[in-house]
């Protein structure tokens, strides 16, 4: 099949409106890349540049070894699934699915074979002669998917295909999507603002913010080794605790304890950001804490929120030892604490993330 490559893609609308800034990435065969970011981060613009619906101001789009930067969308051999499905309302499901093949003048026999096989795969056989207006939301979504699959394109592009479905259906379709795209070799580029979709579906995630590529990595590494403060705060729910701490020589001050910064952490600023995920904080005793492996901090619970499987507590660290108010959130078993309780949390040292307070970049290791 083909590899999709973006080289220094820029999109500028005016001097102040620059939705995409210098994005380069590669998606190979059997890869599922998700462009993830908050709204306005440039992910849809990037996808539209790959599809050819918007032209980049600078940069190149390569499919295989073909430079398609200025090729019309129809000649790129890419297929796209739109958030609104964008089915042709005056055509039956069969005509909708076959439209792209007919335009490419495939033999009639092959068109009907391909439509039949994709309809069977997506369970659309009974609906082939209906009009889109006679279908439910989930069925329309499957038709939009069929329209892309039947083309057997070099690259699949999906623009938030699940966001118009209700929560229950979304989870089910998400699983189906994963199986469908695992069965075929062409690279997939998937745009979403939903981190669960990104984590579950992708083999690679590209986190975008403010037009810049923040991190391009496997879902595991995006979660365990966020490249900067933005990624750390964006990925993971509930959000990672991000504490701004005072520097103290080669360490940082938290609740009267000096925690050493990782080796080789080069930063000149007077403060540093410490990150720890709520699920990594565990209960402990102040005395018995193994200070080699974990940092123990004590505080008062001022808020607890029941998430179902566990409890999210918010802790205000003891004031006599800290100069500023620091709050920390942790996931603990349901019913273990209530508001006003004094608790001690252990922060395992190998789960601490350090970020430069000024640039936001990850420090070292």
């Amino acid at each position: 099949m083909a590899t999709l490559e973006l080289k220094n893609i820029n999109k500028t609308y005016s001097r102040t409106v620059v939705p995409v800034k210098d994005i380069s990435l590669t998606v190979g065969d059997d890869e599922f890349l998700t462009l993830l970011g908050p709204s306005g981060c440039g992910k849809s613009t990037t996808l539209r540049a790959i599809a050819g619906l918007d032209l980049p101001t600078r940069g190149q789009v390569l499919i295989g070894d073909r430079d398609v930067t200025y090729t019309p969308p129809g000649d790129r051999n890419v297929a796209m699934v739109f958030q609104s499905y964008a089915l042709y309302p005056h055509m039956s499901v069969r005509e909708n699915v076959a439209a792209g093949l007919k335009l490419r003048r495939l033999p009639v026999g092959e068109i009907s074979d391909r439509v039949q096989s994709v309809a069977m795969k997506l369970d659309l056989e009974a609906l082939l002669d209906r009009k889109p207006s006679q279908l439910s939301g989930g069925q329309r979504q499957r038709v939009a998917l069929a329209r892309a699959l039947v083309r057997r394109p070099d690259v699949f592009l999906l623009d938030e295909p699940l966001s118009n479905l209700d929560a229950l259906l979304r989870e089910q379709v998400r699983g189906e999507l994963k199986q469908i795209f695992a069965d075929q070799p062409a690279p997939v580029v998937y745009v979403t603002h939903d981190q669960t979709e990104a984590m579950t579906l992708s083999s690679k995630v590209a986190v975008l913010y403010d037009g810049h590529l923040q991190q391009l990595d496997s879902p595991e590494r995006i979660y365990s080794k966020p490249a900067n403060r933005f990624v750390a705060g964006f990925i993971g729910s509930p959000q990672m605790n991000l504490l701004t701490l005072k520097r103290d020589g080669s360490g940082a001050q938290l609740g009267g304890i000096s925690i050493p910064l990782p080796n080789g952490a080069a930063t000149d600023s007077a403060t540093v950001t410490l990150g720890i995920r709520p699920e990594d904080c565990v209960f402990g005793n102040p005395g018995s804490a193994d200070t080699e492996k974990a940092v123990a901090v004590s505080g008062t619970v001022f808020l607890n929120e029941n998430l179902g499987p566990n409890l999210l507590i918010s802790l205000r660290l003891d004031e006599e030892r800290t100069e500023e108010l620091i709050t920390l959130r942790s996931r603990v078993p349901v019913g273990s604490v209530s508001v006003g309780d004094e608790v001690t949390l252990l922060l395992p040292r190998d789960r601490l993330h350090w970020f430069d307070a000024v640039t936001g970049d990850r420090l070292s290791n």
Partner: protein
Amino acid sequence: MSSASTSSESGRSPQLWKGIIFGILIVCLVAFCLAPVMWQWLTSVKVNADIETTPNIYFPSRYTLSHYAELFSRRPFWSYLGNSVLVSVLSTLLCLGVGTPAAYAIARLRLPGKSILLGLLLIVSLFPYILLFLGLLEIVSALRVGNNYLALIVPYTAINLPLTILVMRSFFQQLPLDLEDAAKVDGYNTQQILTQILLPLTLPALVTTGILTFIFAWNEFLFALTFMSQETLKTVPVATAQLSGASQFETPYGPMAAATIVGTIPLVLLVLFFQRKIVQGLTAGAVKG
């Protein structure tokens, strides 16, 4: 029990009265609107004696179709009808054919000075067309297109273009952009998107504006009277107005009424035929609804 029945009766009677009053109002409204047409139709089937009698009689004592027969035997009424059809159909098609791509371009492309263009269109469509008359007459005589169908087709098209463009533009703007993007990715080129995706969806709008243009062209009198003096080129409204009686002292009320009825029938048929198309909501289900 008794109280229940009285309450249900008293509950029913206001409903009943509402229905009756509603019915009466509908009948009044319909009578008010259709009275002139009814009067023309009744006149067209009266014998001359009934038409001229005083005081007026509303319903004929004897029905006759002689006025209709006279229309076609003494006058080339088929050719008037033919002229009207030709001029109206051609100017309608021309109007849609030029106006629709223009409307699409204005709706979708980033054109410099687009708002000025739209403002001009609006001004032109507000302009009373009678004021164009003298200028047009000069142009027609200078180009020597008097007694030529073009002398009617071109002005009718020009007068109706602004409205067509404005109506079609607002329809194109309502269509979801994703639909066109999907078509582009599927491999349709711009012209195919317009003809195979968008036009089927804008059919209701096309029919609506088409009918408006057709009615205007069919009923237009002033240009048709001035630019066409040759008998075989006249359109129905002009011919109807110029019907003459057997002698110069007779006003041919009967044939005029018959001509009016004959001239109205094509319009009524056209609207009835296309109304189904207008009513159908074709865009339902394009995107998540």
